[in-house]
């Protein structure tokens, strides 16, 4: 996952792939990824009813398939490790997807990979580590919240949760881009925001264009939405609300008291931010900008 993130960003930065080609390749790679549940059935470690029960539980818990399968007594840790090993071996890489879609031929891909490896000075061991990394590591590798001091750790946690939620609720594989410090945030796009208040004050927001807004709304609501109406607005707002709710509950488990204010959906928005960050995130269906700042709007 993290390797896709690194290599994907390299291909974009070098102009080797266009953003829409990278998105397409990520979608394709995701669509043929061997799901752990399917693998568990194929290997006879779980039956279909058990896999279904884990999927159902995933709707209400922010946990991975394997963690829940162990908690629910369907798999042992050793069995899960065995499945993950098989999955890793069978997993199609982003490189394969890029070649399959005809964006690069084999020789160009090989050159791009070799150039990337050389430029990034990664050892084979580090290369392997990258393939196993998760969103927590990705946020620490790719984002820099140093200028906000101690609160930075909260920002890393928030972004990692946001990325996991994109996988969980939107069935997509997000790619986080480098964050930018911003004081005046201005967008002509849709902007959905919600304040988190309490022991820590945090402005959260997501900005996106019409097409991305509608697709995000469709995916979250699982409704046949054809235009941006009240239902679509409610859907995107509820997505942010659920992410923020999980964030507050996680914080409350660590003794940090947080509350949520109602979400606001608007267009053509300008706001002053105190130590604010704009974090571009590429989704399979377009880009969203995640905005995080101290205080409230």
């Amino acid at each position: 996952m993290l390797l896709n993130q690194y290599f994907g960003q390299y291909l974009l930065n070098q102009g080797i792939l266009k953003p829409e080609q990278l998105r397409e390749a990520l979608m394709y790679e995701h669509s043929v990824r061997v799901k752990l549940g399917v693998l568990a059935i194929n290997t006879g470690l779980m039956n279909a009813a058990q896999v279904e029960a884990v999927h159902e539980m995933q709707k209400s818990k922010d946990k991975k398939f394997g963690e829940l399968a162990i908690e629910m007594g369907y798999l042992t840790l050793a069995q899960l490790q065995e499945l993950l090993e098989i999955q890793r071996n069978r997993q199609m890489s982003l490189s394969q997807a890029i070649v399959d879609l005809g964006y690069l031929d084999l020789a160009s891909l090989e050159k791009a990979l070799a150039d990337y490896k050389q430029e990034s000075q990664l050892t084979n061991e580090q290369w392997q580590l990258l393939q196993d990394a998760d969103y927590e590591q990705a946020t620490h590798q790719f984002l820099n919240f140093a200028s906000v001091g101690g609160i930075g750790e909260i920002y890393y946690d928030y972004v990692a949760l946001f990325l996991r939620s994109v996988v969980r609720f939107l069935n997509d594989h997000p790619l986080v881009q480098q964050n930018q410090l911003t004081c005046d945030y201005e967008t002509s796009k849709w902007f959905v925001t919600q304040n988190i208040v309490g022991d820590v004050g945090l402005v959260t927001g997501i900005a996106m264009d019409n097409q991305v807004f509608l697709e995000l709304a469709r995916r979250y609501s699982q409704e046949e939405l054809t235009e941006i109406d009240e239902m679509a607005e409610c859907s995107v707002a509820e997505f942010l609300n659920v992410v923020n709710g999980i964030f507050c509950v996680n914080a409350s488990d660590q003794g940090v008291k947080l509350e949520l204010q109602p979400q606001i959906v608007q267009k053509d928005y300008t706001m002053k931010l105190n130590k604010g960050y704009c974090i571009p995130i590429e989704l399979g269906f377009g880009r969203v900008e995640l905005v995080l700042a101290e205080g409230d709007c």
Binding site: A237, V242, G245, K257, E259, P262
Partner: protein
């Protein structure tokens, strides 16, 4: 049509949440009433006297915990299930203190909703 599972009031400011819950509840034979905020919930409750209320917490105007207090002041037997993304221990304790029957954290599953309705209907 005769309702088999009784009358249920949904109070949530989100049109999407109300629609999704309505689909589940009408599917199992409930008669459904809706409110968009706490003030409206109290009004609708007084008129329709539902058997069960699903109540969001974070809403503009009167929030769900305030509305819960008002409902229980009006009817000490009111059965209210808090259904919110904000399932922190503080909110949970407050809700139970004000007399909520139960607390479901969003995102909920269809089973969580139908099981609660079946429990109350008994």
């Amino acid at each position: 049509m005769e309702t088999q599972q009784g009358k249920v009031l949904i109070c949530d400011d989100s049109l999407l949440v109300r629609k999704k819950l309505r689909d589940i509840l009408t599917g199992i034979g409930c008669e459904v009433f809706e409110a968009q905020n706490g003030t409206e919930a109290v009004e609708v409750y007084q008129k329709s006297r539902p058997d069960l209320v699903f109540m969001d917490i974070v809403m503009p105007g009167t929030d769900g915990l305030e509305a819960l207090k008002k409902l229980r002041a009006f009817d000490a037997e009111a059965k209210v299930i808090m259904l919110s993304s904000l399932g922190t221990s503080d909110k949970l304790i407050q809700a139970l203190k004000y007399g909520a029957e139960d607390f479901i954290q969003k995102p909920y599953t269809v089973e969580q909703i139908t099981q609660i309705v079946a429990k109350i209907a008994k």
